[in-house]
């Protein structure tokens, strides 16, 4: 047990047709996924898509209906202790022992994991501005989440698995979290995190798997994803504009013009649109982050040609 047979750039997490049904309800359907050592892998999908199911299968909290998973080359069930020794985890609905204080909790978890570098823990606590002295039940959701993050990072595990790590965090702390993730990557360690937030995934991840209704739709480099990123834009002009000026531009869809307002969806580079718009006097520009459904639709509508 515990023999590391994995060299660099090989998969540290691998699933083969991994399937989970809860009774008749589909949780996950034939997931084939590969997460490589040293990357930050984002698992993107709406709530109920199967992200948490996947994570809980990897950690042996639930058992697959079909298919197999391996973590660090090990079977999560047969080698559950060894896997858990080398992987740390931030659960999705961050529930902690709420009668403990933060420092009691960290001390307990540190003991269970055979000790930690307390100096490093102190740094994490400082960076995330954790309140460790009060009972956890008296803390806000964001403050609990920060303690959850500290425990996931504190042992410097080979893999950190996080389920919706930034939920409840304020933007400044999110930035600090992104920094922590980048340091893990710089160490050559691996992060596997789920999210339903596209900008966040674009910000920190190297590769992204998109999952919906239990099925993996695609796995892409984050750069490729950005190229295909959808932006909904709205321009307000000083005077009415002709719809024909925009409707045939490459990479621009869903064009509607009402008097002096143009609404459209841009895929990838907005270059052509910006040049077309520049001929008129622009009073206001509004950009909407695309929601996940729109991103999924963009993949579906193109018949999966981008499926990795």
């Amino acid at each position: 047990m515990g023999v590391d047979t994995i060299s660099d750039n090989q998969a540290v997490i691998q699933t083969h047709d991994l399937t989970k049904y809860y009774g008749p309800v589909r949780g996950l359907e034939r997931l084939n996924l590969e997460v490589r050592r040293g990357e930050v892998f984002g698992f993107l999908g709406p709530n109920g898509a199967g992200k948490t199911t996947t994570i809980r299968l990897l950690l042996d909290f639930i058992r697959p209906t079909g298919g197999t998973a391996s973590v660090l080359g090990l079977d999560p069930r047969r080698h559950s202790r060894e896997v858990r020794r080398r992987v740390d985890y931030l659960p999705g609905d961050m529930v902690l022992y709420d009668k403990m204080t933060g420092s009691q909790l960290l001390s307990y978890l540190a003991h269970l994991r055979g000790g930690v570098d307390w100096e490093f823990v102190g740094e994490l606590v400082e960076r995330l501005q954790c309140n460790l002295s009060q009972p956890i039940r008296s803390l806000s959701r964001g403050n609990r989440q920060k303690i959850g993050l500290v425990q996931a990072f504190m042992k410097r595990p080979e893999i950190i698995i996080m389920d919706e790590p930034t939920s409840g965090l304020d933007p400044l702390i999110q930035q600090e979290f992104y920094g922590m993730v980048e340091e893990v990557r710089a160490d050559g360690r691996t992060v596997f995190m789920s999210s339903h937030n596209m900008p966040e995934v674009e910000r920190v991840c190297d590769r992204v798997g998109i999952i919906r209704q239990g099925e993996l739709i695609t796995v892409e480099d984050v750069h490729a994803l950005k190229e295909r990123a959808l932006h909904q834009l709205e321009f307000h002009f000083a005077a009415p504009v002709p719809e024909e000026a925009f409707s045939t531009l490459p990479g621009v869809r869903d064009v509607t013009v009402e008097d002096a307002v143009l609404r459209c969806t841009v895929i990838g580079k907005p270059d052509a649109l910006i040049k077309a718009v520049a001929r008129f006097e622009v009073l206001k520009l509004i950009s909407h982050e695309p929601n996940l459904e729109d991103i999924f639709l963009s993949y579906y509508s193109e018949g999966g040609e981008h499926a990795a």
Binding site: L59, F61, R63, S80, E82, R84, Y97, H111, L112, Q151
Partner: protein, 265 residues
């Protein structure tokens, strides 16, 4: 105190354990202090009624309420002590796995390098230690009472009867723990374990009243707890071994069923 699951389980129930200890000690002491008024009033024995009176289902098959053994058996050991131990044990046993699972902390706990079996065994050990601690307190409190009212009874026999009750409590705690581990539902575990304990209590306790129960009483754990009258005769090793043996038989069942199922989020 937070070195492992066992110590942490005891640590987190320190307050409730203290209250239980105080309550149990007070109840025991007060009961024993009542003895002088029984000793001098043999007419209490009239309450017992006939050999097959229903009263015997709640005080046991005693002949003399005014003797030290008769008094302690009928007032403490037959019903009160096992009842309290069982309530405590079933609450602890059902909460051990299912409580943690329902609160949502089991995922976090099991993300540490622990197997499910280790967690279950640590929780079981914490429950056993807590029950034995309460038994010790109860015994000490009874001893103090016995000294105060100058009762002629062996401290050793009292310890043996108390231990027998603790073994019964541990058995039902193990039943609750097994049910909680197998289902992940605390309410189910409490409900079923309580129902089993009430049913088996009456199966044994009604034996003097209902002749038909006579052959069935040996199916009841309460039979192995009290039938040999450990307060008078000392711990019956065979009967104690049945209680311990049943507990040890339940453990692999608990480990197996907990190990193989999906945990709730």
């Amino acid at each position: 105190m937070l070195r492992n699951v066992f110590l942490k389980s005891l640590w987190e129930q320190r307050r409730s354990l203290l209250w239980w200890a105080l309550g149990l000690a007070a109840l025991t002491l007060l009961t024993v202090l009542f003895y002088p008024s029984f000793r001098d009033a043999p007419e209490f024995n009239d309450f017992l009624g006939d050999e097959d009176s229903l009263v015997r289902a709640f005080v046991g098959d005693v002949s003399d309420l005014t003797s030290p053994e008769g008094f302690l058996n009928s007032q403490l050991y037959f019903l009160m002590v096992p009842l309290l131990f069982l309530v405590f044990a079933i609450a602890r046993g059902s909460g051990a796995i299912a409580g943690e699972e329902e609160r949502g902390t089991l995922d976090l706990l099991l993300s540490n390098p622990l197997s499910r079996s280790q967690v279950l065994l640590h929780k079981f050990a914490a429950m056993v230690v807590a029950i034995l601690a309460l038994a010790l307190i109860m015994w000490l409190s009874a001893v103090i009472g016995v000294i105060v009212v100058d009762m002629d009874i062996s401290f050793m026999r009292m310890a043996e009867a108390t231990l027998s009750a603790a073994l019964l409590g541990i058995l039902f705690g193990a039943v609750a723990l097994t049910l909680g581990g197998a289902t992940g539902k605390r309410a189910t575990s409490i409900g079923v374990a309580s129902a089993v304990s009430v049913a088996t209590y009456f199966l044994n306790a009604l034996t003097p009243v209902v002749d038909a129960f006579e052959p069935l009483s040996k199916l009841s754990p309460f039979y192995y707890y009290i039938d040999a009258d450990p307060l008078t005769n000392g711990l019956n090793l065979l009967h104690a071994a049945v209680l311990v043996g049943l507990t040890l038989l339940l453990l692999p069942v608990a480990l197996f069923t907990f190990e193989r199922r999906d945990l709730a989020v």
